[in-house]
């Protein structure tokens, strides 16, 4: 306990501003069934020397290094470079690899282009398959059963709840990524961005736009809680 207090007393100026008070980050309550199973399997694998702590830490670093900023870079490049866009739509994985994004999980990637005639929406009804190499971890709502079930039954109603009204004459294609390929939506480039640089364009592209639940707009609203994730 003494050590913990000491830890909490130190200067908090490490990487992010801490101008807001918050409760101590601590584990409360008993770990769940799958948490216990994960710990048990991990400890057994380490104990039997099948994997080491360094490999686990390394993989966590790999996962942490993937964020929607990578996907945004891909989208912005596709908007400014017609040849890249063509290659991206022909083979999502190799085009992303051109930009230095590796596919550590050995998945293929299909990039689906939104147009004024077609709107694409991505879901995984069986679990939470997601293009992690280019977007990082999926948002919590993507994993909830309500989204997973309703996205394939009433996509227009689900989109409306995200504030996205799709006109009746626009075709909706819902891609259920359950098997082995991952999907990324290439959103429409917003009007009024003709003079934007590639970096300025990338800053507009949000995670949710690349899942297909919202369009890209000139004023991207901050994610809930004010933190971009």
């Amino acid at each position: 306990m003494g050590q913990q207090n000491q830890h909490h007393d130190h200067d908090h100026d490490h990487g992010h501003d801490h101008d807001h008070p918050h409760a101590e980050i601590a584990q409360t309550g008993m770990p769940g069934y799958y948490e216990i199973m994960e710990t048990a399997v991990r400890e057994l694998l380490v104990e039997r020397r099948l994997i080491g702590p360094d490999e686990i830490r390394r993989q966590i670093e790999v996962l942490d290094s993937r964020t929607p900023a990578l996907g945004a870079k891909v989208v912005a490049r596709a908007w400014v470079d017609a040849d890249f866009r063509r290659r991206l739509l022909a083979n999502g994985r190799t085009a992303c690899e051109e930009l230095g994004i590796s596919f550590y999980d050995d998945t293929q990637l299909i990039v689906l282009e939104n147009t004024d005639k077609v709107h694409n929406l991505i879901v995984c009804t069986l679990c939470s398959c997601y293009p992690r190499p280019v977007l990082g971890l999926p948002p919590d709502w993507y994993k909830l059963k309500a989204y997973r079930a309703r996205a394939v039954v009433e996509p227009r109603a689900v989109l409306a709840e995200f504030g996205t009204i799709i006109p009746d004459d626009v075709e909706i294609r819902v891609s259920d990524s359950t098997a082995m390929v991952r999907y990324l939506v290439l959103p429409r480039r917003p009007d009024g961005t003709e003079g934007f640089s590639e970096e300025q364009l990338a800053a507009l592209v949000t995670r949710d736009a690349m899942i297909g639940v919202v369009p890209v707009t000139l004023t991207a609203p901050p994610a809930p809680g004010g933190t971009l994730q």
């Binding site: 293929q108 996509p155 227009r156 009746d168 909706i172 891609s175 259920d176 990524s177 359950t178 082995m180």
Partner: protein, 115 residues
């Protein structure tokens, strides 16, 4: 989109592909997602079983059958996945939206039959 050409580039006369090496279906083919009830690991959602679909693309390269892989049986299980399209109105009788709205999904070859 992947083209319906042989799996490994051009075709040399006299070279015979093994069973499953070449895709059984091509873009535009009409297929039905089979109604199977396997025990164990599978990746075809219940809501699509028995539905008629149209092949949109062959997914390359050929892949191991996940259902076999789940039990460590990989040999000879390599086949193609197909991205198929099913009209929403064919899945849900009371679907509300554009009649062209559709569901897209990749389905392993063993789960498709020609119609």
């Amino acid at each position: 989109m992947p083209s319906p050409t042989p799996a490994h580039g051009g075709r040399i006369p006299g070279v015979v592909p093994a069973d499953g090496e070449e895709p059984a279906f091509a873009p535009g083919d009409a297929v039905r997602i089979r109604t199977l009830s396997p025990v164990g690991h599978y990746r075809v959602p219940l809501y699509l079983r028995g539905k008629a679909a149209s092949v949109e693309a062959v997914i390359r390269p050929a892949a191991i059958d996940n259902e076999e892989e789940g039990y460590g049986r990989n040999a000879g299980s390599r086949r193609h996945y197909y991205r198929v399209a099913v009209p929403m109105t064919a899945i849900w009788a009371d679907y509300r939206g554009n009649a062209a709205d559709s569901l897209r999904i990749e389905v392993f070859e063993t789960w498709l039959e020609r119609i």
